[in-house]
């Protein structure tokens, strides 16, 4: 997600996100271009996107977009590139919204169609009819989870919950590594947001975690109590500001988040005889992830025994909950 300058001519990168009731088209480019861009209707099913001067537009799956012929960037969505922008051709366009956001500076266009839920991006695999262990039902479709990002909460000067003989930052890192190993042994692709005791800002964690809708983020934290808490992002009511946009869950992933959270709750409940809560809160890390994202708080080590047996049971329950049952060695 980078924008590179090229002398006087700027670059823009397009990203497309398919949500349950709208399609999000994002132009990532320089701040002055984003601020001065105009997005206007240009006839039935057509939206004109105009930047203040010429720029080179690229789409990761197709490279630099050139020529007058419209290029399909998702099913039912084409872009015809022009010198200083382009025309978006959207099948069954109903309406659209435009937002400008910083870090990275980007122009976000949400298009609503009469059949948005049927549209799928051209670059994504077609959902299979029978969900496998690592697939989760989301409405009528199935999202395949192809990789995992395990985030160890806190780090560096941010110690998190502190006890007489532990700090959350160290516990979370150690547990994240064990969970990562267990997933790797199952042949899963896993990325850790941090591998050592370092302070890692939320935005940096997000950069690491944003690996597309097929990647699941699981953020590991500790509770101050003897209980499990499973968090998903709070519902987006009206993402009118930057903060609101960053802290509201991705609507397309919400059902999936809930489904995985409930599965995880059930697994933990059946395995351990302690309180398990399901919570929805505006936590930015899980709200802004591309794919399904959960934050799990594990019981406080001063109140819960993390001996080898319990750890194995816990990791197994988590793996089952997130859709990958496994025997942990």
């Amino acid at each position: 997600m980078s924008t590179e300058g090229n002398g006087a001519q700027k670059n823009a990168v397009i990203r497309v996100g398919i949500h349950s009731d709208f399609i999000r088209i994002v132009f990532i480019t320089s701040e002055d271009y984003v601020q001065k861009a105009s997005v206007t209707p240009a006839g039935k099913n057509t939206i004109k996107v105009e930047f203040p001067a010429s720029l080179v537009i690229s789409f990761p799956e197709k490279g630099i977009l050139r020529g007058d012929l419209p290029v399909e960037i998702a099913k039912g969505l084409k872009i015809g590139v022009q010198a200083n922008g382009g025309m978006l051709f959207v099948d069954n366009l109903e309406r659209f919204n435009m937002t400008r956001l910083p870090s990275p500076s980007r122009l976000v266009i949400d298009v609503y169609t009469t059949r948005s839920s049927q549209v799928s991006p051209t670059e994504k695999p077609v959902a299979s009819e029978k969900p496998a262990a690592s697939q989760h039902a989301q409405g009528d479709s199935v999202t395949k989870i192809s990789s995992y990002v395990i985030d160890a909460g806190h780090g560096g000067y941010d110690k998190g919950v502190k006890g007489s003989n532990f700090t959350e930052k160290d516990f979370a890192l150690s547990f994240a590594k064990e969970l990562s190993n267990a997933l790797s042994k199952k042949g899963k692709k896993v990325t850790l947001t941090r591998k050592s005791d370092q302070n890692l800002p939320i935005k940096e964690r997000l950069k690491i975690a944003q690996k597309g809708p097929g990647s699941m983020l699981l953020s590991i934290h500790l509770s101050s109590k003897n209980e499990f808490s499973i968090f998903i992002a709070a519902k987006s009511e009206n993402a009118s500001s930057e903060a609101s946009t960053l802290q509201s869950g991705n609507p397309a992933m919400r059902d999936l988040d809930k489904s995985i959270a409930n599965a995880l709750v059930q697994q933990l409940k059946s395995e351990f005889n302690i309180k398990v809560t399901y919570e929805e809160m505006p936590i930015p890390l899980i709200a802004d992830a591309d794919g399904p994202a959960l934050l799990i708080e594990l019981p406080n080590p001063e109140k819960f025994s993390y001996d080898a047996k319990n750890k194995e049971r816990l990791i197994n329950a988590i793996l089952k909950g997130i859709g990958s049952p496994a025997k942990v060695q």
Binding site: H221, S223, S224, S229, A234, A243, Y278, E279, I283, L295
Partner: protein, 199 residues
């Protein structure tokens, strides 16, 4: 008079004006070093005094009934207190926040209020010592209710206050406890519907 002469006269006049301005401004700032009153981010107009509760208006300090929201084991509690304060919103907010900080626990009560600023959108900037970040040790819910209690204390006592933003030692920081953003004003974080269900 030629155009060149006019140009030279204009430049000399500008130079004199700039030197005079610099001297006057320099004198003003030098002479205000000793001033003890605090200057809010914006000057207060008479009409803005109406944002305070009626009984706080007046020249001297008044006893004002306030509601202090504090984080608790299960969320947030509210306590009725009385503080002595001024009619100036920023000064009142400072006294209010000092009272709020006294009620915190776990080392957070050591936090010092550095300043309060108010911008034209009625966002109150609460500048706190680093103790607020450094001494916080808690989980997601504890951080959430710490932020919500500070927000509610300001919004619940200062009429017209639109939002609250935290600064630490005069700077924006990304997060107090590693779970929520404090880069932005708090309203969007603490006014969303949160759901908590025991399964």
């Amino acid at each position: 008079m030629t155009a060149k002469k006019k140009y030279i006269i204009a430049m000399v006049s500008l130079l004199i004006a700039a030197v005079a301005g610099w001297l006057i401004t320099g004198y003003y700032y030098m002479s205000t070093n000793e001033r003890t009153f605090r200057i809010p981010l914006i000057e207060l107009k008479d009409s803005q005094k109406a944002i305070l509760p009626e009984n706080t208006l007046g020249k001297g300090a008044n006893s004002v009934a306030v509601k202090i929201f504090l984080p608790s084991e299960e969320g947030m509690t509210v306590e009725d207190r009385k503080i002595l304060s001024s009619s100036l919103p920023v000064i009142f907010a400072e006294d209010l926040i000092n009272e709020y900080l006294k009620g915190l626990q776990g080392g957070l009560e050591e936090t010092k209020l550095i300043a309060v600023y108010q911008d034209r959108a009625n966002i109150f900037y609460i500048d706190l010592s680093d103790d607020f970040r450094r001494n916080f040790s808690g989980d997601v819910r504890q951080e959430y209710y710490l932020l919500k209690s500070l927000y509610s204390t300001v919004i619940g006592n200062i009429m017209g206050a639109e939002d609250v933003k935290i600064l630490i030692e005069g700077k924006e920081i990304e997060s107090i406890g590693g779970h929520f953003y404090s880069l932005y004003p708090l309203k969007d974080t603490v006014t969303k519907d949160v759901i908590s269900e025991q399964k």
